[in-house]
């Protein structure tokens, strides 16, 4: 019975980690799905937002809601900087018909990597300690479910993931902006000809994705009660892994990918240790990318039909 109890407790923990990954992956996927570009600075902009909030909380007395808003605002500002400098100059070179590795997409990706380095160094220069404490999301004992423990933070994370996905779905399938986004995904040239301002759609998608990332960053920092400069790389890698597990470019896929990644990580860490945890996660991603099973390809886009 002990093994079974461990399994249940690990599954609860895995869902928590998974909810965080899912939020990160939704933001990452939004950019990848619409722009077909990899934004390596995604996590760095999130880290920038969270650092901005941390810095403010050290100098002023502010509440959790204000902290969340500051994180989101910081991440959006960081994201806007990345978009202006790395992505908007290369929209013209976007060649959707073939070759995802067109020169525009490589240039945009490498440029976003360069800005990641900038964010990281700026964060270290502004706040040189390796670790800063972040105000906790919830100060109390975890919930008791029979003999199992569920952290209240987990509920917040899961709720946030659900709310974000539901509102994103509403935006994409119930508004004119969503219609424009789906048109741009399907055939960018046709969307342009129909009078849709494609680069403005890109800008707004970028802002939306950064805001989701900022929220994710805030929740992650507040439930672990600490921030380090590593948050940037961590967010990019976990968001990317979850996106890849979910089939690159699908929003429901990103959520499922995040939850699967969380569950796989927690269970494999429990049974095989931390190194095997990462190895198994990468192996899963590698196998899925190489095999590309049919259910994955069916997901690969934000569909125009609802």
């Amino acid at each position: 019975m002990d093994v079974l109890a461990d399994l249940v407790q690990n599954t609860l923990d895995g869902l928590t980690a998974g909810a965080a990954y899912a939020l990160l992956a939704v933001g990452f996927t939004l950019i990848f799905g619409v722009l077909r570009r990899v934004n390596l600075s995604y996590g760095a902009a999130i880290m920038f937002g969270v650092y901005f909030a941390t810095w403010t909380s050290q100098h002023f007395q502010i509440g959790l809601i204000a902290l969340a808003l500051l994180s989101i605002a910081g991440a959006v500002a960081g994201g806007a900087y990345v978009e202006r400098l790395c992505f908007s100059p290369h929209y013209r070179a976007r060649d959707n018909s073939r070759a995802d590795a067109s020169s525009g997409s490589i240039a945009a990706m490498v440029a976003s990597f360069a800005l990641w380095m900038q964010f990281e160094e700026a964060a270290i220069l502004a706040m040189p300690r390796h670790l800063y404490s972040f105000p906790p999301l919830y100060e109390g004992a975890p919930l008791q479910l029979g003999s199992f423990l569920l952290r209240v933070e987990s509920i917040y994370l899961l709720l946030a993931a659900i709310v974000v996905c539901a509102s994103l779905h509403a935006v994409l399938y119930r508004t004119r902006f969503g219609l424009a986004v789906r048109a741009v995904i399907d055939v960018p040239v046709a969307a342009q000809l129909a009078g849709i301002n494609v680069s403005s759609v890109f800008v707004r998608i970028f802002a939306l994705a950064s805001a989701i990332g900022g929220l994710a960053g805030f929740l992650i920092a507040a439930s672990s009660e600490q921030v380090t400069p590593m948050l940037g790389m961590w967010s990019t890698v976990k968001g990317m892994l979850a996106m890849m597990l979910g089939g690159l470019g699908s929003l429901p896929g990103a959520v499922v990918g995040g939850l699967v990644l969380g569950l796989v990580e927690v269970h494999s860490q429990w049974f095989f240790g931390p190194q095997m945890r990462d190895l198994i996660a990468y192996l899963l991603v590698f196998a899925l990318l190489v095999a590309r099973p049919a259910w994955m390809t069916r997901w690969t886009n934000i569909r125009s039909a609802s």
Binding site: R36, V38, L40, L85, C86, P89, H90, A93, A99, D100, A101, S102, S103, G104, S105, I106, A107, A108, V110, A111, F113, A114, L115, W116, M117, Q118, E120, E121, A122, I124, L125, M233, V237, M240, M244, L248, Q275, D278, L279, Y282, L283, V285, F286, L289, V290
Partner: protein
């Protein structure tokens, strides 16, 4: 020359191999996030062969190159069918798996009272062939640059040959190349294996320069850096990636003008540069222009 400049020059030479490796794949139209894995495989294989099994460095370097080529071939088999970013992601996953395998690798032997060999995350200490055989830092530097020169000459010869044209055609439009009778898959596998060997050669030289390596040395950062080197310098000629390495390690790290804000300056420069020149400083057009001027 003082020790510091020798160190900087050595590092430029070492990372040039990795940048050339990324560049070779870019020539054939593939963006790899995973060349650091073969750099690491070269470092570990070569280091183990000299430090534990007592082979000489040239023999170990050859063996390391072979293992790099073999590993790159094996990774290439399933992944080269993938398009663009899918290939990039798959190579990234493969490289991270390789790094974790280094973390799990424990193979230590006692030699002359010292424990030598890879010890997981603790790293791999005591790769001292260069030191034990009385090779001076300046001599080692000359060795590295001689090998780099050989690689560069080979690149320039290939770029001017029919093979070079085939490579570029595969990179520009694989379907068209295939319709002209080019076996695209075979070309790409060959390119991947060669790039793997090149990265491994850089790795084995790196290991013997540093005498100490650890799995963290071969993480994503290194891979993205090598891509960035190739792209900043330019995709038009093999001098491009070298220029990229010189700009980053030489001009910025070497000069130490900007102190702690180096990456802020460099990052901004790279992003702005790529707006003006999305295929790097020495892109195909510039290289063509220079060539016509020379004749």
């Amino acid at each position: 020359m003082d020790e510091y400049s020798i160190g900087v020059l050595t590092n430029i030479g070492l990372f040039s191999f990795l940048a050339l490796s990324a560049y070779l794949l870019l020539m054939a139209g593939e963006m790899s996030f995973g060349q650091q894995a073969f750099f690491g495989i070269g470092a570990y294989a070569g280091g183990m062969l000299t430090a534990i099994f007592g082979l000489s460095l040239p023999v170990a370097a050859l063996a390391a190159m072979l293992s790099g080529a073999l590993a790159a071939f094996l990774v290439g088999l399933p992944t080269l069918r993938l398009r663009g970013l899918y290939f990039a992601m798959a190579t990234l996953a493969a490289a991270e798996m390789t790094r974790i395998l280094f973390e799990l690798l424990h193979f230590q032997r006692t030699l002359n009272g010292d424990l030598v060999g890879p010890d997981g995350t603790q790293g791999f200490r005591g790769i001292r062939w260069v030191f034990e055989n009385g090779v001076e830092p300046l001599e080692y530097l000359a060795m590295i640059y001689a090998l780099l020169l050989v690689a560069l000459v080979l690149f320039l010869l290939v770029e001017r040959s029919r093979l070079g044209a085939t490579l570029r055609s595969v990179g520009a439009d694989p379907e068209l190349a295939a319709s002209l009778g080019v076996d695209v898959n075979r070309v790409k596998l060959g390119v991947a294996a060669t790039a793997g060997a090149l990265a491994a050669l850089g790795g084995v030289l790196y290991a013997h320069h540093n005498t100490y390596i650890e799995p963290r040395n071969f993480d994503i950062m290194l891979g993205v850096h090598s891509l960035a080197y190739a792209l900043i310098g330019g995709l038009g000629t093999a001098f491009g990636p070298l220029l990229g390495v010189v700009l980053d390690i030489g001009a910025l790290e070497g000069s130490q003008v900007f102190g702690g804000a180096r990456m802020i300056v460099f990052g901004g420069l790279v992003a702005v540069l790529l707006i003006v020149r999305p295929r790097g400083l020495l892109d195909e057009k510039t290289v063509h222009w220079i060539r016509t001027r020379w004749r």
